[in-house]
Each structure stands twice: as structure tokens, then as C-alpha cells.
């Protein structure tokens, strides 16, 4: 391979690094109305009356909309393939407000100042209802958060609306009672993972206008342009053919832009006024009025024998989906689907749970998507089991891990009676290498470094998926231009991770020519081929496979063209990238330019050459990671310093080592943030206390010491060039590995994220009682 597996620099790297105007708000070049949202001060209330007359009359105000002015059409903002598994529980504006920050009215004015002044003139009378703020009290609470009758679900996700249950899940295999009975060693613990904020640097934003033919155009910072088109059309009851979505460069997503959080607001303003409109969320809205990770409570019961053979894994989850059910059933399910297959020796596994509505900011997709939560619980329990057995936790894992070639009934791609097979996995080698890199032998479990300080190591493993089997799909078109350049048309959303680059690498490798021959187009739903979007770790795997198919298709067409031009049958020709030559006549050939010129020569008989390819996987091959943390804990203050973090990754073939490494480092730091610092907190009235970067602490440079990333490549036969995904899996190991290291340092297991000094000190005080 010449181009794949090389550290090619990002094709748009220089533009984004040097501050070129390429993001949504940079592209608004007309005078657009500024859209602002009046938000609820109450966690749960019914709007009794709302008086907007004064606001409307203020000069410079273009429109003020309330729940009386919007379609009575429920929808979900979740960017998932239709039919979405997320409930249709939203209106653009509702007469109920379900969390502090929920939308009450939309104001559009000539400028921000006017919009804000008008907003202050709106008078709302609320009937205040008792909110449900503790998700453990949601089921059967006297307050029903979604009393409306027209809430819809596309299929049975186990919703029990009157009980505040948005979704239910049950995955099981084997006889659990029996397996537990045969387990002399039992670990049973409950874990809590917090809501985490995405904290992408570019907040949600969108800009809308009507084009010359009256179609609604939405320029938006999104991961899901095709879903946005459908969602907006449905929510506003307009034909999909009247909507066009354009995605420019976006400043980070992490799943936060897998929700269409903002597009409907400027869109409805543009439809009502005919004028361009834009909405830019400020940081407070980004942190307080969009979505976060689902907070979860997960009970784990492990059964094993004295030799450390795991017999049973039983998990029970409760997930807090907040005011709306975006991704409620899927995040809940994934926390089981992508954890249970790890320990393949278990005779019985079970995962059950509910996602519940509460009166807090809705939860949604966030990198890791439930696996992060599930892995914290499962891996913490495994570490505790090792401790209980007095065994090295790495050894317990080595004994029980799923291995390449094994089958497991919960793996994606499994059918009834036909367990899925794991075609690629180097997790065992990842563990070996990780142990060496962190110095496990010398350091495990801990060393006293001074009177008050202890250093210790801890570990965890994880898996994820690559796209959603049977659902995610991508189409790619490659066009040979008249000048011998290729246009690569993709529908997958580059959001900074370098997907445009690695997809071009794959096209260039297949078409055996340099990267400079390719032009890559950003997403425009009018032009780009369909792609479900950049989420669920699908871009490299799903869209990558489509790229190869499209390139092969085009290659075949160019060969046929060359065959005609040279008068030589296909089997006598060889494709060499910039030329197609005759095998037995080294000097007889046509160049790419000549082929391009020939098809463009206008004699009317040539076909313009375009290759296309579509891919949808029937399995979602998991990437794996072994993660190792080394911490130093101050026994007097509980302060934890993360000295080193080692992650060894099996993502199949590494398409671009540099970009993969940064992707891994970035994800690990986000995971470290979740493990140690980040926490979405509410006060007693349900007001978010952490809606600025002052209170919500994402890691800064000083919080990160050493991070070591290494790869143990495998070859995934269904992947493009053997590749699997990397985007999400990288966030999963820090919480359990750091918790484990802290335990080895102090004897305190923090089972409630984040792992703060206070919790450690409190734990130490309790255990010394």
C-alpha cells in the first residue's frame, strides 16, 4: 500500500489551521435575522398564557412565535435513520416546558440586541408542576413528563409513557440462575456514570434562507445533513423536496451534532418571514439546552470460580434520558450489546434496563454512546473480582477474553441460532503491549513514593462497533472530470477527524494515483450521495467500503473506455493509475487525460464516466483497546495526578497513523475528563449549575501529562483495506482504568463518576473507621 497506512496530512488542514472563513457563521454573507429563544425558568410547567404583543410591536422585530404558531407535529431531533427508534416526543414549541432552558418562544429581529430586548417584553404565565429531578424516582412518579396523547413511536421500544419510561431493553443468553449457582465467587456492585457535556468548541448553529426558487436552504454545523433535511421537513410539515442542507466545515461534534438541535428555529423564521435567519447558540445554551451523555446507574453481578473463570455477567441499567427521548433506547441497548461479548467464557449473560424521562436537559449521543457507561461498570467489577480472587487483573482478562475466530451470540451480525463470529481481534496482544509500556510488572499494584503519596496502576479493556449493522449505509460517487481530475462525492460528514482525507486516501490507493488528483466536495444534500452521517464510528468502515466500490466501478469503466480507444480487449490491459497500458506492448497506452478528453470530445457517443458504490454492513466489527493508567494520589488531600495513560488499540489496519493517533489522544483526554473532572450538576430547582466553562471543567493543558498511544493492528476482512473504526472506542477506558489505579493506591473504589479528591478522601475516612 502506497497511500493507505501513511501519515498523509489533512487535505483541509492548512485552511482550517490558518483561520480561513470556512465555518457556518463565517459564511453568512447577507443580512440575516438573528434568532433568539426565550427559555423556561421552570423544570416542569404548563404555559397558561403567553403575551407577545409588545414584543412583536418593537421596531426591528420580524417575528415572535409561540406554541400556538407551530405545527402540531411531533418529531425527534435524534439524527438516526428513518424509522428512528427515538420517540416523536417534541414539538418545535410545546405548551409544556420540561426542563429549565426548554424553548418557550422564538424571537427574530434585525440584530441580537433588538431580539434580546423583545424577548424581555414577553409575558408568560406558567402553571408550575412538580418536576422529576432524580432519575431513580422517575418510574411511577406522580408527575407524567409526557402527558400528551399524540406522542408516537415508530416501533416498540418498550415505552411506558405514563410511567415515565421512554424505553426498555433486555438482552440475554444462557441460564443465568444456573450460572450464578455454579459461581462460588460473586461480585455485586452498583455504579453511577454522570451526564457528560460534549463541549465542542463551535457551539450549535445554523443559517437559513430561501433560494431563488423558494426552497428552504439550511447551512448548518451538523453531523447528519441528510437526517436534518428529513427532520426539519417533518417538523415543519413541508415537502422534503423543498429543503436543502449544506454542511460547511464544523468545529467539532462528538455526537452533540447528531441531534438537529437548532435547525428548526431559523427554518421556521425563514418560512414565516421569507427572510434569511441565523441562530448561534452561546456556550450557556450549548451546555444547558442541547444534550449531554445519558447518566446511568448500572448494577453488575459477576459470577466466577476460584480460578478466575467468569461464569455469569448480569447487568441492570437505568438511564436518564432527560426531558426528551433522543437516543434513549439505543444508548441504553448499546451499553449492553458492546460489553457483554467481551468475556466470552461466561455461560450466561444478561443485560436489562430502562431509560427514563426526567425534567432535565435531554441526553443524546456522545462519543462512546453507552459503551462508555457500560464499560465503566463492567470493567470496574472485573477489577474488583481480580482483587477478590487475589489475581492479577490482566490475567483474569486473558483467561476470559473473546479471541479472534470465536463466536458470540450478542456480537453484531448474530442471528437466532447463529452467533456472530469475531473475524479480527488483537486484544490479547494489546494487553501484553500495554503492560510493557506502562511497566505493569514493576508497578502493579502500587508503590509508596513518600509519606503521603502513593503511585499505582490500573487497567481496563473495551470494544465498540464500526457503523450500525443493517442500518448504516453510505453511497459514494467518483466522477472523472474533463481535465483528468477526480471529484470525490461523499455524504459522510467531516467534522475535524480527517475523514475527507482518509476517504481520499482509500480512493487514491484504489485508483493508484496521487492525492492531488482528487477534489473532495463538502456535503450538500442536493448533490452529495446519501450517507447516514458521521456517527456510530461509521465513516472509515462504512463510507470507506463505499469509496472502494465506487473507485473499482470507475476503474472498470475507464478500462472499457481505454479498450475501445486502444482496440485491445479488456484482459489485455493493465490499470496503472495515470495510464492504462497494453500488457504486451509497454509503449502502447492511454493516459488519464486522454481518457478524460476522449469522453469529453462531444461526438455524442461517449458516456461521461462516474463510478458509484454503496455499502451497508451486516456486521459492525468491533475495534478494541487495552487502557492502562498510572496515578499518584496524595493520601492527605485525595488529589489525583494522572502520571501516564497508555492505550493500545486494535482498529484493524490503521489508514492514517498520524490522524489516528490524534483521534486517540483526543478521545482519551475526553475520557479522562469524564473520569476526573467533568460533571453536569443541577440545583434543587433543576437549574443547571455547570452551564459555562467556568463551572464545567473540560481538561486543560495542565491536566494532561503523558499519554502513550500504540497500535496492534489486525486485519478486518470486511473492512476497507482491513480497517475498523477508531472514533469512539478511544473514550471508553479512562474511567474504569483510573478508578482501578485509584483503588490500588488507596483501597477506595469510587463507583460514582467523576473520581474526585473529595470522594477518595471520604472513602479513606470511611474505611479507616
Amino acid at each position: 500500500m502506497k497511500i493507505v497506512n501513511q501519515s498523509i496530512t489533512k487535505i483541509d488542514g492548512m485552511d482550517i489551521a490558518t483561520g480561513k472563513p470556512v465555518y457556518t457563521d463565517d459564511l453568512v454573507n447577507v443580512k440575516a435575522l438573528v434568532v433568539k429563544i426565550l427559555r423556561s425558568p421552570h423544570a416542569f410547567a404548563k404555559i397558561k398564557s403567553i403575551d407577545v404583543e409588545k414584543a412583536k410591536k418593537r421596531s426591528g422585530v420580524a417575528c415572535v412565535l409561540t406554541h400556538q404558531d407551530v405545527p402540531n407535529q411531533r418529531f425527534t431531533m435524534a439524527g438516526q435513520s428513518y424509522p428512528e427508534p427515538s420517540p416523536y416526543d417534541r414539538l418545535v414549541l410545546d405548551e409544556y416546558v420540561r426542563y429549565v432552558g426548554d424553548e418557550v418562544a422564538i424571537i427574530a429581529a434585525v440584530d441580537e440586541r433588538t431580539a434580546i430586548e423583545a424577548m424581555k417584553m414577553i409575558k408568560v404565565e406558567y402553571e408550575i408542576l412538580e418536576p422529576v429531578l432524580n432519575f431513580e424516582e422517575a418510574i411511577g412518579h406522580p408527575s407524567v413528563i409526557h402527558p400528551e396523547e399524540n406522542l408516537e413511536v415508530n416501533f416498540d421500544i418498550g415505552m411506558k409513557r405514563e410511567k415515565n419510561i421512554a424505553a426498555t431493553v433486555l438482552i440475554e443468553n444462557g441460564d443465568m440462575e444456573e450460572a450464578l449457582k455454579n459461581s462460588p465467587v460473586i461480585v455485586e456492585e452498583t455504579y453511577y456514570t454522570q451526564a457528560q457535556a460534549h463541549g465542542m468548541m463551535e457551539t450549535q448553529r445554523a443559517f437559513t434562507y430561501l433560494d431563488v426558487s423558494g426552497r428552504l436552504t439550511i447551512v448548518t454545523s451538523t453531523q447528519i445533513p441528510f437526517h436534518v433535511r428529513r427532520i426539519v421537513a417533518n417538523a415543519l410539515e413541508i415537502p422534503k423536496s423543498k429543503v436543502r442542507v449544506i454542511k460547511p466545515k464544523i468545529g467539532g461534534g462528538f455526537g452533540g451534532k447528531q441531534n438537529a438541535s437548532v435547525e428548526v428555529f431559523p427554518a421556521i423564521v425563514t418560512l414565516k418571514t421569507g427572510k434569511p435567519a441565523k441562530i448561534i447558540y452561546d456556550r450557556k445554551e450549548n451546555l444547558g439546552c442541547t444534550s449531554s451523555r445519558h447518566a446511568m446507574k448500572i448494577k453488575v453481578k459477576l459470577g466466577a470460580d476460584h480460578e478466575g473463570n467468569i461464569k455469569a455477567v448480569d447487568m441492570e441499567a437505568l438511564s436518564d434520558t432527560g426531558a426528551y427521548g433522543e437516543h434513549a433506547s439505543t444508548v441504553l441497548g448499546v451499553a449492553g450489546y458492546k460489553t457483554l461479548p467481551l468475556y466470552n467464557t461466561a455461560k450466561a449473560v444478561r443485560y436489562s434496563g430502562e431509560a427514563v424521562y426526567t425534567n432535565k436537559m435531554p441526553a443524546g449521543a456522545l462519543r462512546g454512546y453507552g459503551v462508555t457507561q457500560g464499560i465503566f461498570a463492567l470493567e470496574s467489577a472485573i477489577n474488583q473480582l481480580a482483587d477478590q480472587l487475589n489475581m492479577d487483573p490482566a490475567e483474569v482478562r486473558e483467561k476470559n477474553l473473546i479471541k479472534q475466530g470465536e463466536t458470540n451470540p450478542i456480537l453484531s451480525g448474530s442471528k437466532a441460532g447463529e452467533p456472530g463470529k469475531l473475524d479480527s481481534c488483537t486484544l490479547d496482544r494489546c494487553i501484553e503491549k500495554g503492560k510493557e509500556l506502562i511497566g505493569w510488572k514493576e508497578k502493579y499494584p502500587s508503590q509508596r513514593v513518600s509519606d503521603t503519596k502513593v503511585r499505582a496502576v490500573g487497567m481496563a479493556i473495551t470494544m465498540q462497533g464500526s457503523g450500525i449493522a443493517g442500518i448504516d449505509t453510505a453511497a459514494v460517487t467518483i466522477k472523472l472530470n474533463d481535465d483528468g481530475l477526480y471529484s470525490l462525492l461523499i455524504g459522510a460528514t467531516e467534522m475535524g477527524m480527517g475523514s475527507d482525507t482518509i476517504l481520499t486516501q482509500m480512493a487514491a490507493e484504489t485508483l493508484e494515483i496521487g492525492m492531488d488528483k482528487f477534489i473532495v466536495h463538502g456535503i450538500d444534500t442536493d448533490l452529495s450521495p446519501y450517507d447516514t452521517g458521521s456517527y456510530a464510528s461509521s465513516t472509515t468502515y462504512v463510507t470507506g467500503n463505499a469509496v472502494i466500490k465506487a473507485a473499482e466501478d470507475l476503474k472498470g469503466k475507464m478500462m472499457r473506455q481505454a479498450s475501445g480507444m486502444l482496440g485491445v480487449p479488456l484482459k489485455g490491459l493493465r490499470f496503472k493509475g495515470d495510464t492504462i497500458g497494453v500488457i504486451n506492448h509497454p509503449d502502447k497506452q492511454v493516459s488519464l487525460n486522454e481518457i478524460a478528453a476522449d469522453v469529453g470530445a462531444g461526438e455524442g457517443k461517449q458516456e461521461q464516466l462516474m463510478g458509484s458504490g454503496t455499502f451497508g454492513g451486516d456486521k459492525s466489527p468491533p475495534p478494541f483497546i487495552a487502557g492502562f493508567a498510572e496515578v499518584e494520589v496524595d493520601l492527605e488531600t485525595g488529589k489525583i495526578v494522572l502520571i501516564d495513560y497508555v492505550a493500545v488499540i486494535d482498529c484493524g489496519t490503521v489508514i492514517n497513523p498520524n490522524l489516528a493517533r490524534i483521534q486517540a489522544e483526543g478521545g482519551l483526554v475526553q475520557g479522562i475528563g469524564m473520569a476526573m473532572y467533568e460533571d453536569v450538576l443541577y440545583d434543587k430547582a433543576g437549574r443547571m449549575m455547570t452551564n459555562s466553562f467556568m463551572q464545567y471543567k473540560i481538561p486543560c493543558r495542565k491536566d494532561i501529562n503523558k499519554i502513550t498511544v500504540a497500535f496492534e493492528p489486525s486485519y478486518e476482512p470486511t473492512g476497507p483495506f482491513g480497517a475498523k473504526s477508531i472514533g469512539e472506542v478511544v473514550i471508553n477506558t479512562p474511567p474504569p482504568a483510573i478508578a482501578h489505579a485509584v483503588f490500588n493506591a488507596t483501597g477506595v473504589y469510587v463507583r460514582n463518576l467523576p473520581i474526585t479528591p473529595e470522594k477518595v478522601v471520604k472513602g479513606m475516612m470511611e474505611s479507616s473507621k
Binding site: T18, D25, R283, L659, I662, I698
Partner: protein, 149 residues
């Protein structure tokens, strides 16, 4: 009210609100490289130079820029490109949204610190958040650029 400023070596008369922050005024006048990531002076995305000093434009009132010299990354494209090349070679730019502010801080640091240590570099850059890269790739690039081994 009107203010007179020099932006990237050009004289400019700007009409600004009495309570408007510089980041908004600059963006309104088309200096789109200036990004905004927070409202609390926490993220460093809006960093520009006022009289060659790196400054958070989201926390500086536009009126106070009257008669001052402002530099944005548009005015330092050559130098920014030199550093960006190193950064991009490392693969350490992801979404790029934090880059303009980050690079403005680095170019100021280059003028200010001679032979900085790794700690000094990290300290200087602490106010510049990045949610994508995890910082270490950026650090590798900065060290190469500054000639620190």
C-alpha cells in the same frame, strides 16, 4: 459610537455598541478568523493582539480599542502558515476551530519567550482550550516550531 482602530495595519473606523465586545465588532466587520467559544474568558478562541499583546477579545470592550493597534491572524498569514505547516504535519489540527486563537497565542509566545521549557510552553498556552486533539500533538508541534527538544 465610532472608534478608530488599526486592524492588521489598516486604519478603520468602526461603529460599535457601547457595551459591545471586540470579538463581535471584529466579526461584524468581516474578520471571521476571530472565533468565539465561550462567554466567560475561559477558552482562548477569541485571542487577538492589542498592541502586540495577546488579548481575549470576548472580554475586551470594543470602545476600549479606540486608537489601538489590533492584529488578527488574517494579518499574520505568513507566520501563521509557517506554524500551521508544522501543526498539520503532526496531524494535530482536528476541527481547527480553536486554531486561530491558539496560533495567535503561539506567535506571541515566540516573541516573548526565548528557549522556553516544556512547562513554560504549557503554562503560556493553558488558557487555550481544545476539545479535539487532547493537546499532546499540539505540544509536539509547538516544540518543533520553537526548536525545543
Amino acid at each position: 459610537m465610532k472608534i478608530n482602530v488599526t486592524v492588521n495595519d489598516e486604519q478603520l473606523e468602526m461603529e460599535v455598541g457601547y457595551d459591545e465586545f471586540l470579538v463581535e465588532a471584529l466579526r461584524r466587520y468581516g474578520f471571521n478568523s476571530v472565533k468565539r467559544g465561550c462567554d466567560t474568558g475561559c477558552c482562548g478562541l477569541c485571542t487577538i493582539w492589542i498592541n502586540d499583546q495577546p488579548t481575549l477579545s470576548c472580554s475586551s470592550l470594543a470602545v476600549r480599542a479606540n486608537n489601538q493597534k489590533i492584529t488578527t491572524i488574517e494579518g499574520l498569514q505568513e507566520e501563521a502558515t509557517d506554524f500551521a505547516k508544522v501543526l498539520v504535519k503532526e496531524g494535530a489540527e482536528q476541527c481547527g476551530f480553536c486554531s486561530p486563537g491558539f496560533i495567535m497565542t503561539i506567535l506571541a509566545m515566540k516573541r516573548e519567550l526565548k528557549n522556553p521549557t516544556e512547562e513554560e510552553i504549557i503554562h503560556y498556552l493553558t488558557g487555550n482550550l481544545c476539545r479535539c486533539t487532547g493537546y499532546l500533538g499540539q505540544l509536539r508541534a509547538v516544540k518543533k516550531y520553537m526548536g525545543v527538544v
